[in-house]
Symmetry: C2
């Protein structure tokens, strides 16, 4: 009995998994990690008010969440000083990137991103049939000029840019992003992934101009707000685009606990400010730990620090493998030139003690 | 400045919202409902063990959920007595139906369902370009012969069937489903939505034969397990189809609290059995309330009772509107002939007292 045929598009897709979860590594190693510093989660946790709101919502979880996401959309709009018609909430930035590709990408559509940039965007763009054109980084930053030139040359429908950048932690100024926007083809949309915008230096975020039809901005409760496991992100954009998500989205997809937790987290800006201070502190501690072992930390606008291990990709992979074997979950970029680095998320003081000890041992082993 | 063009498919889609949420109605009425009996949620709530597991997972919600869903998939497989390679977990049956349409439906693919059947399936099938062929119900049941004939005539790629049925509460025997399967075109897949299978009479569920490549079965934690707001469903099917979801799914989409809550709910079969007893009891109470006001309850294999109001669609709509104005959230089928009915979810004894009082008032008003 043959199976009903998959679509031609699905048939041609590789069996990709964008990320191997730390849980899979832990099962393979047969023990939990000492420190979980590989997925740029916020070890500092969410607001206690969010915990309270989630517990309350759990008692009501027999009810579907509000499919119109009314309270959270209104609160986000008020927080951002824009109209709720410019915001759509989805299942994290990942879910929203998928929906966005579905809106704009069809078989053969040209899509531009950075070589070594966020793999989940590439996964979604190709999953909807996009022809992906990847632009190498320049000096560990996404190359805005080359992104614009490639978009012009290929007649791109979408350009993806993470600012601040993952996995390199680097950033561009708002001015540079405006120049990129001006250099794109007229009917090309810039998807600006701002997952790390809250930890960025001043002057990184463009002013909000949500009516601009050339730009969609993606933000999340997974990073600074410490709610990665809840799956809540949002996109800010022109009203006709935001309305179009209603044609395709999973209307009940952001559940009751998720909406309540995000709403409470957003309201607790004092907690967010405390976490930001801890992130800033952890960034300099990670940089100091790296330097003390002869490695070079790169400047970071994110909740992680990318570290140049001073050799080639094989050398950095050896450092990474050593850390993982020592119980420290970290990840590394894989693209040429970027692959000389490893990437370490901000951790608690205890996490960073574990990191420091493990790194000392690993570097000693590699020098021997 | 023009917006980047949507795909041709998206451009042609209507601005549909599959369901208006009760929260939207409450905002319009300016007050909360007295009883929430319109969305076939489980008012009896989830297992206390699930509440505990969700609270614990909330403290860890800064971490992404396991993208391989290892623990929950293994537990479901053990519960069902099948291999974990035959189960995929998704964001409710709704989310999985979307992913399934994406796997099999392309522009113009013939898809068959019932006229008046689950609107979210039609939404997804059309959302991926499917040409929908809708078969009228016969005697308030989905018409299996006509579904098979239509699938043969149109060369359908997918046939959708809810068994037990929503919105009518009716059901077919396992034997009848087997006959339907035998009558489908060779490369046609039956999507069997078993959201309500746990409340069905014996002999309704097909034996599990997960290697059968003609059949995908969808189940959920939203109904009997009382976790609608958590968004966890699963699909059982042949290993090559289950594996294909990995090509397109949002790998981190089922979050940490969702996986933990579902796992604990599954383990508490004693709670599930208690809820089942309450559902069975509420079904007969709703039937009795309907009869006492001269209305005719239809037999139900679900956690709701569909009630024939004894007139046309306009009459049933008047009953529905009256109940909603009295603070009772209920819904009704809209398709010809089915539209003479309203649909009432099982409620607590208090919910049903409110229902009984409101219905008395509404029917008195309509007779006056």
């Amino acid at each position: 009995m043959p199976t009903a045929p998959f679509t031609a598009l699905v048939e041609a897709l590789p069996a990709t998994v964008p990320f191997v979860g730390p849980e899979t590594l832990e099962r393979a190693e047969g023990r939990p990690f000492l420190a979980r510093l590989g997925a740029n989660e916020s070890v500092f946790g969410p607001s206690p008010l969010a915990l309270e709101a989630m517990a309350k919502a759990a008692r009501d979880v027999w009810m579907y969440g509000d499919p119109s996401q009314h309270a959270l959309r209104e609160a986000l709009a008020a927080h951002l000083g824009i109209d709720a018609g410019h915001v759509m909430i989805g299942s994290g930035i990942d879910g929203l990137l998928g929906d966005t590709c579905r809106l704009f990408v069809e078989q053969g559509s040209a899509v531009v991103s950075s070589l070594g940039g966020y793999p989940t965007f590439a996964y979604h763009a190709q999953g909807y049939g996009g022809a992906l054109h990847l632009v190498p980084y320049r000096n560990d930053c996404s190359d805005l000029d080359a992104l614009a030139q490639t978009a012009q040359r290929e007649g791109a429908r979408l350009v993806y840019l993470a600012n601040p950048d993952n996995p390199m932690g680097s950033w561009h100024s708002a001015e540079a992003i405006n120049t990129l926007l001006a250099g794109l083809p007229e009917d090309c949309l810039l998807l600006l992934d701002e997952a790390y915008i809250e930890t960025a230096q001043e002057g990184t975020a463009l002013p909000l101009a949500p009516e601009d039809p050339r730009l969609l901005r993606f933000r999340t409760f997974s990073k600074l707000y410490g709610l990665a496991g809840l799956r809540v992100g949002y996109v800010i954009g022109a009203a006709p685009i935001i309305a179009a998500y209603d044609k395709i989205r999973h209307h009940f997809g952001v559940g009751r606990i998720a909406q309540a937790g995000a709403l409470a987290a957003l309201a607790d800006q004092a907690h967010a400010a405390e976490v930001l201070a801890q992130v800033v502190d952890a960034r300099s501690q990670i940089a100091a730990i790296a330097r003390s072992h002869g490695l070079t930390p790169l400047p970071s606008a994110t909740n992680f620090v990318t570290i140049d291990c001073g050799g080639d990709g094989q050398h950095a992979a050896a450092v990474l493998d050593g850390l993982i074997a020592s119980g420290i979950f970290v990840r590394k970029p894989m693209a040429p030139r970027l692959d000389r680095c490893i990437r370490i998320s901000c951790g608690t003081p205890e996490d960073l003690r574990h990191l420091s000890e493990a790194l000392a041992e690993v570097m000693m082993g590699l020098q021997a």
